[in-house]
């Protein structure tokens, strides 16, 4: 099976999964207590009988449940995820506005977490009983146990009150708007705290994982061979050992993307980062169901996309799988 047929299979599977998510969304809305139209009407601040009837017709609520499901699926396929009465615009537009900021935050965190996590893991694996190794173990435990919103609030307290050197809120300076390169730098400074907060959890995991993998790999025969050949230690570690130790990390990064996304929602709420997190927070507060359901759907899209990308990267860096697949 070539990479392309494999990819095709994955995409077909992805389509099925997304369809299932839509059906679940539909069922959840119907299972939830309360009439959806009454909820929408409530959000509009009350509506007349005609408007309610019009809404019923618009959402096909005067039809059978099965027909409603078909209408819902057709609307989504046409890009209509419903209308948010709180934000007073179509849900799809809302998501499109907010998604880039979240992806930006998520990617920055992944890069920080993978680089720092792997380095910590590698360094501590070289002396499994050394001081640094113990520090990494303690840090990874702490990073695991500390609620992400709590570390976020503590950092906010530290940099907002005690040592105000970093911006703690928003994505850019709105009082003195910047342009060009200064704007990019401004956004990057605003990104430091949210990205660090989000990365901390994952640094904890990846360093632990990298450490375990490196300890395994460093005792492998090919590493002994490389050392016996007289290669410098740096080459042995970074060229022979690390490459192999990275494979499980790539897998986990892909599998964790959903959690990363959920973590981003919490972190954004702490630092008022203008991404999906704020959107989620506001739509929970306003019981804005169409927006919430669309967020759930798009988070599934992101998770599936991340899984497919991971799968491809995995196949590219691991020659054994690549060979076997052809």
């Amino acid at each position: 099976m070539t990479l392309l047929t494999h990819l095709f299979g994955r995409l077909a599977n992805a389509a099925m999964l997304l369809l299932a998510v839509l059906v679940l969304n539909f069922c959840l809305i119907h299972a939830a207590p309360g009439d959806p139209v009454q909820v929408i009407a409530g959000e509009m601040g009350g509506a007349s009988a005609e408007v309610i009837a019009a809404l019923r017709a618009k959402y096909g609520l005067d039809h059978s449940v099965l027909q409603q499901l078909v209408t819902y699926l057709r609307n989504v396929l046409l890009g209509d995820f419903g209308y948010s009465y709180y934000f007073n615009q179509p849900v799809l537009g809302l998501i499109a506005q907010r998604l880039p900021a979240t992806l930006y935050l998520a990617f920055a965190s992944v890069v920080v977490a993978v680089v720092i996590g792997t380095l910590l893991g590698v360094v501590s694996a070289r002396r499994p009983n050394g001081l640094l190794s113990h520090i990494v173990t303690v840090l990874s435990l702490a990073g695991y146990a500390a609620p992400i919103f709590w570390t976020g609030l503590l950092l906010l307290l530290l940099f907002g009150r005690v040592w105000p050197v970093l911006p703690v809120s928003g994505m850019a300076d709105v009082v003195h708007p910047k342009a060009g390169l200064a704007y990019v730098l401004d956004v990057m400074t605003h990104l430091i705290l949210p990205a660090t907060t989000l990365a901390l959890v994952f640094v904890a995991q990846y360093s632990r994982l990298a450490r375990v993998n490196m300890i395994d790999v460093l005792s492998a025969d090919y590493v002994r061979t490389a050392r016996a050949k007289g290669l410098p230690e740096r080459v042995v570690i970074f060229k022979h050992a690390l490459r192999n130790a990275l494979i499980p990390i790539v897998t986990v990064v892909g599998l964790q993307f959903g959690n990363l996304f959920a973590g981003a929602v919490l972190v954004e709420t702490v630092y008022s980062w203008p991404g999906m997190g704020r959107l989620v927070f506001d739509s929970i507060l306003r019981r804005d169901y169409p927006t919430l359901m669309a967020v759930l759907f798009f988070s599934a899209v992101i998770v599936i996309a991340a899984n497919i990308v991971t799968d491809i990267v995995y196949r590219l860096i691991d020659p054994r799988i690549r060979g076997g697949a052809r």
């Binding site: 998510v21 609030l153 599998l255 959690n259 919490l266 709420t269």
Partner: protein
């Protein structure tokens, strides 16, 4: 919330020697079905001895016991009602209110002591739900294989594409922020790691000789699953159950932080969620409940690691 899955993902890939230890006692199963339970006492005692040798595991267990004790004895230790306004809002820690008051003027220490009850109950019950669903799905899947396995794997795959916290958030928003809804939602969204783990264990054990022997002796499927395979698959399941408590506590916090806590029941998450906007005015109202969550999750994961080391000797040297 997120870290935890990682541990659960890693755990199953590491070959568990625990099953093999348990299998040593297994020949008894072929002759008398009731025996494995009796025989299992000895590996369990060995694991307990092993656990007591791990300083971090014991430390975690002591922390956890203390937290549980405080939660149980709470009303006796500090009878102040956590929902009652006792003074001015944002009063800093002083002898009257040892840990200060929150944005409404409620006692933070009372919140901590009474809130632990709700948070830890949610954690334990949600973890129980997680394990019941996960183990049932994983056991059926791994034991029967074939179309049952394909179907259940598909269902698990579906649940894995929905980020658990976001899914729980949608459920709680739709069905209302009550403690029961929150608990069920957390349990219902986080069972897939337990299912994967159980499935792998069942598939590994299914074809071992003592299981075949039991089957040949006429044991039915239900008996095989519950009395023969499950006891041998238990050690990694217990570890993942312990970790699931930590995840659930973090989830309760995350949901409350997003405004989905039960406003009528004080919990650590609710304290953070309600006071987070005032963190710069009253650091104590957020810092202490956060530290409580941190300690509880830390304790649970230390215990989990300790059990894992005790039942999984190969990994101990790491």
């Amino acid at each position: 919330m997120s870290t935890v899955e990682q541990t659960l993902i890693v755990a199953p890939t590491e070959p568990s020697d625990a099953g093999i230890t348990a299998n040593a006692a297994a020949p008894g199963t072929t002759s008398a079905p009731a025996q494995p339970v009796a025989k299992a006492a000895s590996p369990a005692r060995a694991a307990l001895r092993q656990f007591l040798r791990s300083p971090s595991g014991v430390a975690g267990a002591i922390m956890l016991l203390l937290l549980i004790l405080v939660a149980i004895l709470g009303p006796i230790l500090w009878p102040t009602d956590p929902l009652e306004i006792v003074g001015l809002p944002f009063a800093p820690p002083d002898p009257d209110a040892l840990l200060g008051t929150d944005y409404l003027g409620r006692d933070v220490l009372a919140g901590l002591i009474h809130g632990g009850r709700a948070t830890m109950t949610v954690g334990a019950v949600a973890a129980f739900i997680t394990i019941i669903i996960g183990v049932s799905v994983g056991a059926l899947s791994g034991f029967f294989g074939g179309w049952i396995d394909s179907l259940l794997v598909k269902i698990s795959e579906f649940f894995q594409v929905l980020p658990p916290l976001l899914f729980a958030m949608v459920l709680v928003t739709l069905f209302g922020p009550k403690l029961t809804t929150i608990t069920i939602a957390i349990g219902a969204v986080s069972w897939t790691p337990a299912a994967r783990l159980t499935r792998a264990e069942f598939m590994r054990l299914r074809d071992l000789d003592f299981i075949k022997a039991s089957r040949a002796a006429g044991a039915g499927n239900w008996h095989l699953i519950m009395r023969v395979v499950l006891p041998n698959a238990l050690p990694p399941i217990i570890v993942s159950a312990t970790l699931a408590i930590g995840v659930a506590i973090l989830f309760e916090g995350g949901l409350s932080f997003l405004g989905l806590g039960d406003p009528n029941t004080m919990s650590w998450g609710l304290m953070i969620g309600q006071n987070r906007n005032y963190v710069l005015d009253a650091w104590w109202a957020v810092t202490f409940p956060g530290a409580a969550i941190f300690l509880a999750v830390l304790a649970v994961s230390l215990v989990g690691d300790g059990i894992n080391d005790a039942v999984n000797p190969r990994l101990r040297r790491r």
